[in-house]
């Protein structure tokens, strides 16, 4: 444009200066306008660019789309839900939290018209077992004069919600390893969900059945929750008392039959004999278990029937209580409701008394003076939320563990530096004749007789 203007003025030839200046002035005007237009267009471009970038940034940080509820709000809602659920749903011993179905889409739920079964019905298990035992003398059901027991416990396959949970599962399994080594009991630690339907607290049923059928040499299957700790290392289960029974479970007959309380029995720790009766019991027990509408509906029935039960899905403990009450004649003659020692000992009333126990009593009693098992019902160390204050729970678990560990370490001449201390101190000097202490302190050689 400028060039044209100059050329026209130039080609004008001998135009007077005024013409040139005129063309130049007009050129300059045009020039200026050109500059201005370019300026403006560049400003506009910058403005648009900035506007664009701002929107991008805002989108990224503030989530323009849903100003209604931010992430923080969601988190608060989640926390609220988490808070309310456990308080409303006081489950007794959910040692195995919900299954983790993260890798696959959920399977189709069981048809409620078809009764769920643990497996094909077996009717002659007692004779099958007897025949097998005769044919396999290398695997007797009685070893060293004692019936063979298999302790079954377990935890979910994935890490706990909080790392502290795994730490206590580790200590809990060490506690069980110690007790079982001393008493010649084998342990099966289950970390697999054998049956997707029976998840959560119901996982134990298919596992118990599976172990019974695979190990005919095992006389008793002893289920123990992962949140239950042995606190009397010397005490031994008085099996002779249960010769005519097939299920040994801690509870109170009054609460069971008169009050129909949902905490009349505790299925966190129990013994089940390996026999046909037990298979039948498991088959009768399982139907309330399958997750989904069956378990929810069953939960409603149980809440209506049992005293004090909050509203939540069916759990194995309530289901067993319901079963034993409603079919009393069929089952109760083979069930031993034990309360003379703490086959299951509710932790709250016990954990503060350990020092007093150490002062006044001694191991081997198994009852309120020196509890056999301290069971941390409701503490749920593997979950992220407990029914009780977590400090109280963990302090209690630490104390119970150390209380038991002191009994194990006594053979070696050590003891914890306080019931809350993971450190140990020497309580007996090293010696050149260690065997005299072995004779004195080895628990396996000083079995106490259980109270009749």
């Amino acid at each position: 444009m400028v060039q044209d203007a100059l050329r026209t003025s130039g080609s004008g030839g001998g135009l007077p200066k005024t013409a040139v200046s005129n063309g130049g002035g007009r050129g300059r005007g045009l020039l200026l306008r050109g500059w201005q237009v370019q300026n403006t267009s560049m400003n506009i471009k910058i403005m648009i660019l900035c506007g664009f970038v701002t929107i991008l940034v805002l989108l990224g940080t503030v989530s323009f789309g849903n100003l209604g509820s931010s992430n923080a709000d969601d988190a608060v809602n989640q926390n609220l839900i988490k808070e309310t659920k456990p308080i409303l749903a006081k489950s007794p011993s959910a040692s195995v939290p919900n299954d983790l179905d993260l890798e696959e889409p959920p399977k189709a739920e069981v048809n409620p018209n078809v009764t769920y079964t643990l497996g094909p019905r077996i009717t002659n298990w007692d004779s099958q077992r007897k025949v097998w035992l005769n044919q396999n003398p290398g695997f007797p059901s009685i070893v060293n004069g004692k019936a063979r027991i298999l302790l079954l416990t377990g935890s979910p396959p994935g890490p706990c919600d909080k790392p502290i949970g795994d730490y206590y599962l580790l200590k809990s399994v060490k506690n069980k390893i110690d007790y079982c080594r001393i008493h010649g009991i084998e342990i099966v630690y289950n970390m697999a969900h054998l049956d997707e339907e029976l998840s959560g607290y119901w996982t134990k049923l298919p596992m118990i059945r599976r172990l019974m059928l695979s190990h005919p040499e095992v006389e008793w299957i002893w289920w123990m929750d992962s949140d239950a700790l042995f606190t009397d290392i010397l005490f031994e289960i008085p099996l002779s008392r249960y010769e005519k029974h097939n299920l040994v479970i801690h509870g109170y007959p009054d609460l069971l039959f008169n009050q129909k309380s949902w905490v009349a029995l505790n299925t966190g720790v129990f013994l089940l004999r390996n026999c046909q009766w037990s298979l039948d019991l498991l088959d009768a027990w399982a139907p309330m278990g399958p997750k989904g509408p069956i378990r929810d509906e069953a939960g409603k029935v149980l809440t209506a029937y049992l005293k004090g039960r909050p509203a939540f899905e069916a759990d194995d403990q309530s289901a067993l209580i319901y079963l034993l009450i409603s079919q009393k004649e069929k089952w109760m003659d083979k069930v031993y409701v034990e309360n003379q020692y703490y086959l299951h000992g509710f932790w709250e009333g016990l954990v503060d008394k350990y020092e007093e126990m150490m002062e006044k009593y001694h191991p081997g009693l198994g009852d309120e003076r020196w509890p056999f098992v301290t069971h941390f019902v409701g503490c749920k160390p593997c979950g992220s939320y407990a029914d009780y204050a977590e400090e109280r729970c963990f302090k209690g678990m630490e104390r119970a563990f150390n209380f038991a560990d002191n009994q194990v370490l006594e053979l070696y001449g050590f003891s914890h530096r306080g019931l809350l201390s993971p450190k140990v101190k020497r309580i007996r000097n090293e010696t050149v004749s260690p065997l005299e202490y072995v004779d004195k302190f080895d628990i396996r050689r000083t079995h106490a007789e259980a109270k009749p």
């Binding site: 006081k90 497996g119 060293n144 970390m191 992220s384």
Partner: protein, 462 residues
């Protein structure tokens, strides 16, 4: 006006400069805003926090108050006995905010060792063989051999008393002990899981020495003590150790004679998984092994000696493995004839060369071999899942530990008719249907009622 003051050229230059300045400032501001949005600017907060503050300012927290009231009503009116505990303790029920180390309380004083006395594991015992055989003779119900060729074995492992620094560390310790429980149940071996530091001077990798000595002396019925690190896992559940082979030996470790005695290579053997017979020789060995252990100056100086004397050893404080190599290489005449350096199977199997081949092994081989085709033990040396810093990338370590665990677990699950869906999956699937004649079913590996577990006549053998 500015034009008239300064002249057109300068004016234009100034304008240009101003424009450039504007653009620079604009870009700077944008950068700061974007950075603040993505990584936050410390105490100046992030845009999300801004929005929160704005929202909170305008909406009083009605939302939060109501459900809490509901909860309080339930708690005070409820018949549960937890309410008193919860409100009395005053603590929150949320594990999110809980600090475990707050609850530990150590009473009493730490034992202070006498700096003038040289370190010993304990008073010297010289007649342990006699003491032990006397005891065994008096206690026939605790024989040291539970079968004709099967000695009583105690597997010893352990971990630190406090929770792991790495949040998933305790979960892997749990899986590791489950793995050992399974192997030992099948093979009739007892387990001792140690979580106590018996001697503060011998902390770290040396902690096993006082523990081993204590266990040998407290369990005379144990014939072999099998030490196994917590980061080692059984991957061949069917392999039974060839006890006959070790009749004349007192110490069995994985390693190579040439690498230890000729080369003095610091990884010529591995003390992460070894067998030690319960006798006088073992006590003497422990006494000779221990002096490099006491933490502090002794261990530092010993470390320098070891780095100098052994091939390939990096510079760090003395560790029990290097000390063992040094001990054997320099005192072969005293100890060598009773030490068996096993390399016919993986009593210790370095994970780096094994974990990628599991699928290949499943396809081509079978359990019971124990060697490179199907390793007995996969040992995750250097992974340190419990600590914060390992020698290898954390993700590879953890992923491979899961695979190794599942590889071993599959052999246990197949006994009951199940298997993991894949080596990376925690879920299991059925591979054998339930039947009404379960006793006719035989598991392929014969691990349900293996011969080495059958109860036999108990005899005493010295």
């Amino acid at each position: 006006m500015i034009e008239r003051c300064l002249g057109p050229h300068r004016c234009r230059r100034i304008q240009r400069a101003l424009r450039h300045l504007k653009v620079t400032v604009l870009c700077l501001v944008l950068t700061v805003v974007v950075l603040r949005g993505t990584i936050g600017a410390g105490k100046f907060g992030t845009p999300e926090q801004d929005l929160d503050e704005i929202r909170q300012h305008f909406q009083p927290s009605r939302k939060r108050a109501e459900p809490h009231r509901v909860l309080e009503e339930i708690q005070t009116g409820g018949d549960s006995d937890s309410s008193s505990a919860a409100s009395g303790a005053g603590g929150s029920n949320n594990y999110e905010t809980f600090e475990i180390n707050k609850i530990f309380v150590d009473e009493g004083e730490e034992e202070k060792p006498d700096p003038n006395k040289p370190y010993t594991l304990g008073p010297k015992i010289s007649d342990w063989d006699e003491q032990r055989s006397d005891w065994l003779a008096k206690n026939p119900t605790f024989p040291n051999f539970i079968g004709p060729n099967k000695p009583r074995v105690l597997l010893v492992t352990g971990s630190a008393p406090k929770p792991c620094e790495n949040p998933v560390g305790d979960h892997y310790l749990l899986k590791s002990i489950k793995n050992k429980i399974d192997y030992c149940r099948l093979h009739g071996i007892e387990i001792f899981y140690n979580m106590a530091l018996l001697d503060a001077e011998m902390a770290g990798f040396w902690a096993k020495l006082p523990l081993i000595r204590k266990l040998l002396l407290s369990h005379p019925e144990v014939e072999f003590l099998w030490w196994m690190d917590s980061d080692a896992m059984f991957t061949d559940m069917a392999f039974e150790l060839p006890w006959e082979r070790y009749k004349e030996y007192n110490l069995v470790m994985h390693g190579w004679n040439e690498m230890v005695y000729d080369e003095k290579n610091w990884i010529g053997l591995n003390t992460g998984s070894f067998l030690l017979r319960n006798n006088q020789w073992a006590l003497d060995l422990l006494d000779t092994w221990a002096p490099m252990g006491p933490k502090g100056k002794i261990r530092e100086e010993a470390g320098k000696v070891l780095t100098r004397e052994l091939k390939g050893r990096p510079v760090f404080e003395a560790d029990d493995q290097s000390a063992m190599v040094y001990l054997l290489a320099t005192q072969r005449d005293t100890w060598g004839n009773k030490v068996y350096l096993e390399n016919g199977y993986y009593l210790h199997g370095y994970w780096g060369i094994l974990v990628d081949r599991y699928e290949e092994m499943i396809e081509n081989y079978h359990p019971g071999l124990g060697d490179h085709r199907w390793p007995l033990v996969t040992h995750f040396v250097g992974c340190k899942p419990c600590g914060k810093f390992g020698d290898y990338p954390v993700e590879r370590c953890l992923k491979q530990m899961d695979r190794a665990f599942n590889f071993g677990d599959n052999q246990i699950l197949q006994i009951y008719g199940f298997t993991h869906k894949s080596l990376a999956s925690r879920k299991v699937k059925r591979v054998r249907n339930e039947t009404s004649n379960p006793l006719e079913m035989k598991d392929e590996l014969g691990l349900l009622h293996p011969a080495f577990k059958a109860v036999k006549l108990q005899t005493n053998q010295v």
